[in-house]
Symmetry: C2
Subunit: 439 residues, 2 copies
């Protein structure tokens, strides 16, 4: 094929494609999240990327629908999944008779949204979700378990200083009901959400512009100004003395969740009641969660979710309450990588590169077999290159050790094992090498 | 939402979606393959599912192109990947200056082909690929390493009685060149391929029908009738005394590969020279591989691949020779599952289900925390159900142990641990429980 006929190899914008050493880091993050989800007994699920548009878009509309990758093949109207929640709803409705409830599932997979591409925004991205679905009812204890899973996961990812913010949508809804501001609640929440960025005076100005009456504004401001530790916040909410049943139910739920979170082993430092978080508007109906890395608040919530009354009402009459969270893994990886915050256990796949210092590679191969059988990821450099090039190869892939085998080593039954980080080189036998490489 | 407005939840035909216990098995197979690929130092790669059609279909044509899921979004002509090789070619050409060669990568991901759906055929399916790409040249030793990776992988999957069949396309090509039957070679290979199914007489009849002359047919039949062990086959090939340089190169390569496979630790029992395998027609240029489970030959090759001269000539002038294999994981899982041949280490995600025998769940939660911190996947049953229901739940999910904690247990600092397989129940403290659950 001549040069002028070549197609320029390129990747779609908004689609993450990593270099090998970055991919190693990404996969370790993914594996740690998965390990942590499994530690709590969540079952794996792997739904198709493609679904019938009629099924996938049963409930979608507005902005979401515009972003869908939708097309026909033959007679079939198809869409690529845009989240992992709708496929879960489909799956649970479809397999209702077979599943065991509460159904605890995790799914880590790619989803697709044709958003305008911009720095740090992706059109193909991983979500890492867990949900617990009840059959008809689901104990509030599950709402309290979720923060312990978030806690374990972010500890596993190497973070200490993060806070899980919890709230309850019924408190917000009941509060706005009591002010007879239900219709305005969307706009009010949007304004409140900016509190930390713009300050209380600007929030007040915007509420006036929205046409909220003075008395209501004062109540809203006193509501969002509630501070203190979790117990103090609950006491302040009780003191508001709002005579609305939704509010009261929400407050009871929040108290119950806050009390139990501690039993689930989350330190007080790592969670807080935050009356300003709402998480979307239609979907969540009870507890809501957001998680912030306190030293890097600018990257936004790294893990969010909440409780919903009904997972799948567009597919089934069965009431299926649930609670779940999602980590936007691709975006999170991008942000942490930009900030140099990714903590990896291993920077390479191979634990050791075995290189021959003679023309005969057979001893390298048998040593490699022994190492592999002992659980050590072992690569043999097989191209006939200068030793310098072999070292360069190992360094570029961040392989921590080189095992050199030449005529002397074969004669003595040893390996010259060099630590590429410290530069230390020692002559060892195979079982000593195994010990060192397993450390 | 009223019943008549419901959308029927359903999954596209040809798209595998598993129940949780099957998904657990599937994931274990996937993890074992990945573990084995990493053991040989292959680097992970995760390319997008969507690519520009111009890029993805640079070389495709014919049947493949008809099967592509291709569509436009906005102005952009997009296609879903139909294999993992073209994305690899794109990636290597695109990142040529950055990658270290030989570039050893694995990728396990879903690919899409809109084939006519039939039993055991899927439109969305996992491929699990490894390839080793050289920069300009690639040692034949890599061809000999590949069978050791196949061997390790299928051992890891629990198989013993399987055989890796190897051949060399240059032998076939040179043989047909020497007979001046290059144009007919495609048809001849198709006929030869049926040898085991239809027998030698039918092969002969079909060759006559194809218009092959008697002398050539005799040579073809003696070629495909070569038997014996690997050394005997090589000797027989040498005895054919074919004066064709392609044939001679192929024979040298095959000898070199066969000799070295043993050094890479593959027992003689698990590989064989098989002069009848060809693996497609354009792509492979040297060594080719197929792998058969000897007790279940009807399911076809479970792992195939080969050597190619040039990975990415439609993207770049750089010669990039490579060798690789692919496991069609979705199809393999389906077939093994039908035959009840999947060997799993664990049938469940959770190692233990903790259930409370009183109204107070707090002790269950603190025990669960301790178990999890010791690496035990632990689930707490939180719904307020009868003990019978909790047992049913554990049995259905195949969780091996139930840990019961009631008032007596709290008083005595013990757990009543029941093995659901043996029915054995014992009263143990937490550290004893950890020991038992870790076994």
């Amino acid at each position: 094929m001549s040069a002028q006929n070549k197609v320029i190899p390129r990747t779609l914008s908004g689609f993450m494609e990593l270099l090998p050493t970055e991919q190693v880091m990404f996969n370790q993050m993914k594996e740690k999240i998965e390990k942590s989800y499994k530690r709590f007994g969540f079952l794996p699920l792997d739904t198709p990327v493609l679904e019938l548009s009629e099924v996938l878009l049963a409930k979608a509309g507005g902005e979401t629908e515009k972003q869908i990758y939708r097309f026909t093949k033959g007679e079939t109207d198809l869409s690529m999944r845009f989240d992992l929640t709708v496929p879960l709803a489909k799956y649970v409705a479809q397999n209702y008779g077979t599943l065991s409830f509460p159904f605890r599932r995790y799914q880590i997979g790619k989803v697709y949204r044709g958003e305008r591409p911009q720095k740090g925004r992706f059109r193909e991205f991983y979500q890492a979700d867990i949900d617990i679905i009840g059959d008809g009812e689901l104990s509030i204890l599950n709402d309290a378990e979720i923060p312990s899973i978030i806690y374990t996961t972010f500890k596993e990812l190497g973070f200490e200083n993060f806070t899980i913010h919890i709230n309850n949508r019924k408190i917000l809804n009941g509060f706005f009901e009591s002010l007879q501001l239900v219709d305005e609640s969307t706009d009010i929440l949007r304004i409140i959400d900016k509190l930390e960025k713009v300050g209380i005076d600007n929030v007040k100005t915007e509420l006036i512009e929205l046409g909220i009456v003075e008395t209501a504004i004062l109540k809203i401001l006193s509501f969002i100004s509630i501070t203190g530790n979790n117990e103090e916040k609950i006491m302040a909410l009780e003191k508001l003395d709002i005579n609305n049943s939704t509010f009261k139910t929400g407050l009871l739920e929040l108290k119950e969740v806050a009390k139990n979170i501690k039993l689930f082993g989350v330190p007080e430092n790592n969670f807080t009641i935050d009356l300003t978080i709402a998480r979307g508007l239609d979907y969540y109906t009870g507890t809501v969660y957001e998680t912030f890395l306190n030293d890097y608040k600018q990257i936004g919530s790294v893990c969010s979710g909440g409780r919903y009354d009904n997972l799948a009402d567009y597919y089934t009459d069965k009431p299926l309450p649930g609670v779940g969270i999602s980590i936007g893994l691709t975006r999170l990886f991008y942000q942490l990588n930009e900030l140099n915050l990714i903590k990896v256990d291993k920077q390479s796949i191979s634990d050791v590169l075995v290189v021959s210092m003679s023309d005969d590679i057979s001893d390298c191969l048998s040593v490699a077999n022994v190492l592999r059988n002992n659980g050590i990821n072992t690569e043999v450099y097989m191209s006939n290159k200068k030793l310098k090039n072999k070292f360069k190869y190992a360094e570029k892939l961040k392989i921590p050790y080189i095992a050199m085998i030449g005529e002397d080593e074969v004669k003595n039954g040893t390996i010259s094992l060099k630590n590429l980080l410290t530069g230390e080189q020692q002559s060892v036998n195979v079982s000593e090498a195994i010990k060192i490489l397993k450390m």
